[in-house]
């Protein structure tokens, strides 16, 4: 699956913790198609769609205003124009020169007039997975569509649809969709099917910018499921939303990024004449250091599991990956400690460690797409793996 900016942040932590490698001065170079920015490869070649030669690009993490896309900063903070909280995004990083509008460079340096090149950050596909209307944001399994559900009123459900740049889809695209929101459903064990007791067809809103449905009064917290077929010949996808309160449209400085990954970046070092933009690569974003002792690691693992549980119970699937990935980092850090276990416990701990890692990635994938059933399955396996791991290590703890 395509990975997101948010993943970059977590991988950042993983790299810091797992690898003792000197981070490069700049983010690594990828190759992309000038006409199809979704195509990003790790080596030169031609675009599989249009056969154009791929061009190099540096991808980095940044912070963007959800309203003013021109405001892209290196650090978390507020928008200079409206005061809204900046949200994490993935950008391409280039340098240019004043007076040379077509000049694009992959490195900082000096322009022909002797002035330092100017850094520029441009939003990338999947670089922004932040809700834009205060709702819950998911990526469709086709990895191109994105959607956000909101409950602005007790009797109104609204679905905003985006492309891979989190740009709102045009009204014409929405009219082609077949979607409904299910507010009451039950599982019939005899037939092993889900029966929809109350479902409402989602139709284009008056302004054509979203799909919406008048629903029965929603008692909070309100769980509801959206099933949508983007085109007649595509599969129907399922997304599960849980609203603990009515959705408030972000306004002014009160807007806060919903993703808990919006950790502040390290302050950029002072700029030098040759590096007008200091680019800490995405994976140098600071993260919480892992504890060192086995007991502390196990306690941390239990804490991460509990954090995952809370998010799953709240229906905040889009944020599940954060503690899940932190848990798998703990599992990797625990691996050397199996040497201290008796053979019996060790043979139990080693597969459990791998299962914590595997199920954390399962949670990440399921959470991305907002499917409650898949998240639930992954969470069950995840907690089982954590329990097995804890049991295996329990005999060595004081």
């Amino acid at each position: 699956m395509a990975k997101l900016f948010a993943l970059a942040l977590v991988l950042a932590g993983a790299s810091l913790l797992a690898a003792q490698k000197a981070p490069p001065a700049l983010p690594p170079v990828s190759m992309t198609c000038p006409m199809h920015p979704d195509v990003v490869e790790s080596k030169p070649g031609s675009c599989p769609l249009c056969k154009m030669n791929l061009v190099p690009v540096r991808l980095d993490a940044s912070w963007m205003c959800p309203v003013h896309a021109v405001v892209i900063e290196q650090q978390a903070g507020t928008c200079r124009l409206c005061g809204r909280a900046l949200v994490p995004v993935t950008v391409s990083l280039t340098w240019t020169c004043r007076g040379e509008v077509n000049a694009e460079f992959l490195e900082p340096g000096v322009c022909r007039d002797g002035s330092p090149r100017i850094g520029k950050r441009t939003l990338r596909p999947h670089g922004n997975h932040n809700p834009q209307h205060g709702g819950q944001f998911f990526m469709a399994p086709d990895t191109w569509h994105h959607l956000e559900g909101t409950l602005p009123r007790e009797r109104l459900f609204r679905l905003h649809l985006y492309d891979d740049y989190a740009r709102a889809l045009p009204p014409a695209a929405l009219t082609a969709m077949n979607a409904r929101v299910i507010t009451r459903q039950r599982f019939d064990a005899a037939t092993r099917t889900t029966i929809e007791d109350e479902a409402f067809t989602l139709k284009p809103s008056k302004d054509g910018r979203s799909l919406e449905a008048a629903i029965s009064r929603a008692a909070l917290p309100a769980a509801m499921t959206v099933k949508v077929r983007f085109k007649p010949d595509t599969p129907e996808y399922r997304f599960d939303f849980t609203f603990r309160e009515l959705t408030k449209e972000p306004a002014g400085a009160t807007l806060v990024a919903s993703r808990p990954t919006a950790k502040p970046r390290a302050a950029a070092p002072p700029a030098t004449p040759t590096t007008p933009v200091e680019t800490a690569p995405a994976y140098t974003v600071p993260t919480e250091p892992l504890p060192g002792t086995m007991a502390e690691l196990l306690a941390d693992l239990a804490r991460r599991r509990d954090e995952v549980r809370v998010l799953v119970q709240k229906g905040d699937f889009g944020a599940v990956w954060v503690p899940a990935f932190q848990a798998k980092d703990v599992a990797v850090a625990l691996e050397p400690h199996v040497d201290h276990l008796a053979p019996q416990e060790r043979s139990h701990a080693e597969p459990a460690l791998a299962d914590v890692v595997r199920t954390a990635w399962q949670l990440d994938a399921a959470g991305d797409t907002g499917n409650a059933e898949e998240v639930g399955k992954a969470f069950t396996l995840f907690t089982e793996a954590v329990s097995r791991l804890t049991d295996a290590f329990s005999t060595t703890q004081p």
Binding site: M1, A2, K3, F5, L7, A8, L11, A12, S15, A18, K21, P27, P28, V29, S30, P34, M35, H36, P37, D38, V39, V40, E41, S42, K43, L49, N53, V55, V57, L59, T90, N102, E104, F105, L106, R124, P125, D142, W144, D163, D164, A190, R192, A282, Y283, D329, A331, V332, E335, P343, S347, H348, P351, L353, A354, V357, R358, W361, Q362, A365
Partner: protein, 389 residues
């Protein structure tokens, strides 16, 4: 370095709609921003070489070699799916206290490195040549006592997968107890599994003894000295080969001529016997799509030494756990595995497990979902010595 954005910048206003339409019509699978701190050359290649190269190499049974970044990158998403689902590597066993030799699972770190790399942009790293995988010995157990070339078997151009049963007569001189049996495929990309049994008319069909379950990449294990699988005077070997083409060879006529390796035990070796466990106990028909299974217990009457377990064909797809309880003691898990379809293998204990007379062996088998018809016969076979000194 100057990048070619000029054209894009100029064309952007006029092509924006076209671009959106194009992407709309062709939802693309992936963007791969490079976020992985792990590179193929430094981090991924050593894992693949150690864990996957037995199959994922040129000419191997897996259709996609994974020996270079160029070969591996296109399979990134498939690798992610296989690893996350646990389908690959095809090893699911856990033992409690008894190490399984030649375990082929990935460690937590290895799994994390591979998943981080495939989802993090698959950076190639230093493009230095990757050293080739260490050549595997012809016969991992050493020079065989006897090699038996098998008859040639073929798969026609219009066939994808076939199962062939070959009967190998044994001369009287080589009807000796067997310590181990191994197989070397003639066409590695074709042979997916082999089952070798000793069949004897005098012993009856029930006594047909499995002496080898071979799958690609598996390491053979021999019985300890002084022990062997019995070979009756009228015995013959039956080799069941499963042959399957990779897509690279679709519509090609292919053939294989594998070789069996026999390792004899001492003629006076004590016979290791096989016993069936865990018969299915639910009546058909069963509701479709429902998970379920059964738990069966067997009490051993004499001191018994356990060497290995393997699932029968009836248990394909089931999750199996085996526990042992001696009198008054709680159950202790000795093995847990999934009988992965197509990967029937024997799970040997590095150190055999001795259990006293009166001990109970409990076998729990779970199918998800239950098969439409109840499996017949035992679901698990145990290789054991029932005359422990």
């Amino acid at each position: 370095m100057r990048i070619g954005l000029t054209g894009r910048l100029k064309a952007a206003p006029t092509c924006a709609g076209l671009l959106l339409a194009a992407v709309w019509l062709l939802p693309l699978e992936a963007h791969k921003p490079i976020t992985s701190p792990y590179t193929f050359a430094e981090d991924v290649a050593p894992i693949l070489r150690e864990r996957c190269a037995a199959c994922h190499a040129a000419g191997g049974p897996a259709p996609m070699p994974l020996t270079t970044a160029e070969e591996t990158v296109p399979w990134g998403e498939s690798i992610r799916l296989e690893l996350v689902s646990g389908h690959m590597p095809p090893w699911s066993a856990m033992s409690n206290g008894k190490r399984l030799p030649h375990a082929e699972g990935l460690t937590a770190r290895e799994l994390n490195v591979l998943l981080t790399w495939v989802t993090g942009g698959t950076p190639p790293g230093d493009p230095k040549p990757v050293p080739p995988a260490a050549p595997t010995a012809n016969w991992p157990l050493g020079a065989p006592d006897l090699t038996l070339p098998l008859p040639e078997v073929s798969v026609a151009a219009d066939q994808g997968e076939v199962t062939r049963q070959l009967v190998v007569p044994l001369d009287a001189a080589v009807r000796r107890p067997l310590r181990a049996v191994d197989l070397r495929p003639g066409t590695r990309s074709l042979v997916r599994s082999a089952r070798v049994t000793v069949r004897s008319a005098s012993a009856g069909a029930e006594a047909e003894q499995v002496v080898a379950l071979w799958v690609p990449g598996d390491q053979p294990v021999g019985l300890p000295a002084g022990l062997g699988f019995a070979v009756p005077p009228d015995a013959e070997l039956v080799v069941t080969l499963r042959l399957k083409k990779t897509w690279e060879h679709e519509r090609e006529a292919m053939s294989d001529r594998s070789t069996l390796a026999l390792y004899f035990a001492d003629p006076r070796a004590t016979a290791v016997r096989s016993f069936g466990l865990g018969r299915a106990a639910y009546p058909p028909p069963v509701p479709s799509g429902v998970a379920g299974g059964n738990v069966a217990s067997e009490t051993v009457r004499v001191p018994t030494r356990l060497f290995a377990f393997y699932p029968t064909a009836a248990a394909a797809g089931a999750k199996i756990s085996i526990d042992v309880a001696t009198d008054g003691a709680r159950l202790q898990r000795i093995l847990e595995f999934t009988a992965q379809r197509g990967w029937e293998r024997r799970y040997w204990f590095a150190d055999p497990i001795d259990i006293p007379a009166g001990a109970r062996i409990q076998t729990a088998v779970t199918f998800d979902p239950l098969p439409a018809t109840a499996p017949q016969g035992p679901l698990v076979i145990i290789d054991a010595l029932t005359s422990v000194p």
